[in-house]
């Protein structure tokens, strides 16, 4: 028990004071040191800022995104980046947004203070949306690699560009592809979706598209985002015997749909899912069960585009494999593509000044390993089609669009 209780406030105030002051002094001092670099080039290095999720719920995809960014700096620096007549080094500074949108926004501000005006997007729609708002306010420029929710592109932001297709295309691409390639064509489709914004937008897109091609959507069923048990949804649609089951999902729900469908005897002609099938974990986790599952992908190694940094999609595939010992999936590719957009724009503008880069990004019209890149008014890549892949013999092969396909789509997929 404290003998002199009345003295405590003084002591604790002292402690509080010193803590606060030390903290103020430290943080203030360290972050104000490098604010001079408005061109983005300090010395012979141009530094891009990237807030990615390294911990928290999005950690997995965040780390994949970082790999794509890392590959970009490796390749670009190996080839040598020339800006303003001199050779500069490309660097990316990473911060962990902890999968939290507020932290992502805060990080963008911190980048701004450190002179990082050029921002590579975080993983995920919520974090990207938070980042985009701050980027706009600070006069930074962001190339978004994975924030696909259409909502981001309806807000009139002028400084955020996305190399990727928006969420509404993710699942509808499978509908288009199947309608184009399948015989016999499916007549009924059930859509299963996670209840987060991105997934729901994708599900809505597929629903609209299915209506357009004349299929009957027999069920649209939602489950909690990041669920690993979707059995109830599957039990509900089993009796409806849909010809096609579409999942608007992330990896874990995507795996659960396939796995539990096999368990529960849900046997449509085929399954199609967003996000999950192109991810390496999908086939490795599911093994033979993954056979024949269709997936939408932002990128395939069969893509036809080509650029001077990364070569063709196949070349990209090779360099990624060399660095990481496995094939890239599209999260890495879209990350590299976002980085590429900056590199290309800086080269074109011959400057790393954010406003010049902004103009150059906006005016970009270039081919790449990721396909052709040109942004519209809202910042979306107008050329960017989705690709559809299928798992065949444990490998993902491109089946659509026809121009990029390596194999014919197997249809219907024998399921047991």
């Amino acid at each position: 028990m404290l003998r002199h209780p009345t003295r405590k406030p003084a002591i604790v105030a002292l402690v509080a004071g010193s803590v606060l002051l030390t903290a103020c002094a430290n943080s203030g001092g360290s972050s104000s040191s490098s604010s001079g670099a408005s061109t983005g080039v300090s010395g012979d290095t141009v530094t891009l800022g990237a807030a990615v999720s390294l911990t928290g719920a999005l950690a997995r995809e965040g780390i994949l995104t970082r790999e794509g960014y890392d590959l970009c700096t490796d390749v670009v620096n190996a080839k040598g980046l020339q800006i303003g007549g001199k050779k500069v080094k490309l660097a990316i500074t990473y911060q962990d947004d902890k999968s939290a949108p507020d932290t992502a926004g805060q990080l963008i501000d911190q980048f701004n203070d450190k002179g990082n005006k050029l921002i590579l997007g975080p993983y995920g729609s919520a974090t990207t949306e938070a980042a985009a708002a701050v980027v706009e306010r600070n006069g930074q420029v962001m190339v978004d690699s994975s924030g696909a929710d259409d909502k981001i592109f309806t807000k009139g932001y002028k400084r955020t560009f996305a190399v990727l297709s928006p969420a509404s295309k993710y699942l509808s691409a499978i509908v288009t592809a199947v309608n184009e390639l399948a015989t016999p064509k499916p007549k009924t489709v059930a859509i299963l979706s996670a209840d987060d914004g991105f997934s729901k937008t994708a599900a809505d897109g597929a629903k609209t598209e299915a209506g357009k091609v004349g299929w009957n959507v027999v069920a649209t069923n939602y489950f909690p985002s990041r669920a690993t048990d979707v059995s109830s949804s599957l039990t509900q649609i089993r009796g409806l015997k849909p010809d096609l089951v579409l999942g608007s999902v992330h990896l874990e729900e995507g795996i659960a749909i396939i796995r539990q469908s096999r368990e529960l005897g849900v046997t449509p002609m085929a399954f199609g899912e967003t996000v999950a099938p192109p991810t390496p974990d999908f086939a490795s986790t599911l093994g033979p069960q993954a056979e024949g599952v269709l997936g939408s992908s932002q990128w395939t190694k069969e893509g036809k585009g080509k650029d001077e940094w990364f070569g063709t999609a196949a070349d990209y595939n090779a360099s990624f494999q060399q660095k990481f010992g496995r094939e890239p999936e599209y999260h890495a590719a879209e990350a590299t593509a976002a980085c590429f957009a900056f590199v290309e724009a800086m080269t074109k503008a011959n400057s790393a000044d954010p406003n010049k880069v902004l103009d150059a990004v906006a005016a970009l019209d270039t081919d790449s390993f990721f396909g052709q890149i040109k942004f519209n008014q809202t910042g979306l890549n107008i050329y960017k089609p989705m690709a559809v892949i299928q798992i065949q013999q444990g490998q993902q092969v491109a089946v659509w669009p026809k121009t990029d396909k390596t194999s014919a789509m197997r249809w219907p997929v024998a399921t047991s």
Partner: protein, 276 residues
Amino acid sequence: MTAALETRDLSVRFGGLKAVDGISVTVEDGRVLGVIGPNGAGKSTFINLITGQIRPTRGKVLVAGRDLTGAKPWKIAAARVARTFQINKPFRGLSVRDNVAIGAMFGAPGGGSVAKARGVADEVLERLGLSGVAELGPTELSVAHAQRLEVAKALALRPRVLFLDEAMAGLRPAEMEPQLELIRELRREGLAIVVVEHVMRAIRSVCDTVLVMQEGRELLTGPPDEVLADERVITAYLGQRYAERQRAERAEAGGSGPAVADQVGPRPEGETRAPG
């Protein structure tokens, strides 16, 4: 005139156990009722029934004629009924003064501001000779002071009815006298006081009436000397054998003198808690 405190047929059962069974008492202003009985007789439960810690299953509690049966403890306190606990319950994080002030803040009629309550607390502490330890924490007190603190906390409510549950426990004889004198003084001031005690001397020296409880029921009620000499009480307390011995000794000595008055009963451990 209505009595300060009256219970009618007050009873509670826990499952099959009749912990308190049909107790009716009346305590007038300026009177002291002693409650005695062996372990598990239901003495503390009886207090808890009146002060609202436990709701009775049957019977009535009247405070100055007002029916407060089953009222919450703070309602009872607001009706100026204060109590101490058998196991001291000081507010450990607060100074002795503030421990006492709390009662004045909330229990006293009309309540009071912190400053006012501290004033009241200082008065009470002064009266009880605790001024010197007002700044200490309650865990730093001696046993005697800790017992006094409990009384002080109760007095800060400016009670009309005061329950003292084992306020003498652990005290040395020299320390006991001031405590007894305090009770007499409060009685003179017109408080109705209920004393639960194992120290028979205390019972004999301050009580007007003694209620003897056994197994939740009233064994008998009467003036202290009479009650403490009663065969039934001796037997209830000390068993058949001891009672016989006492009788034999008394017969030998010519049958005079108090019987159990100076005896200390068994400790009342674990009596307050209801089963379950």
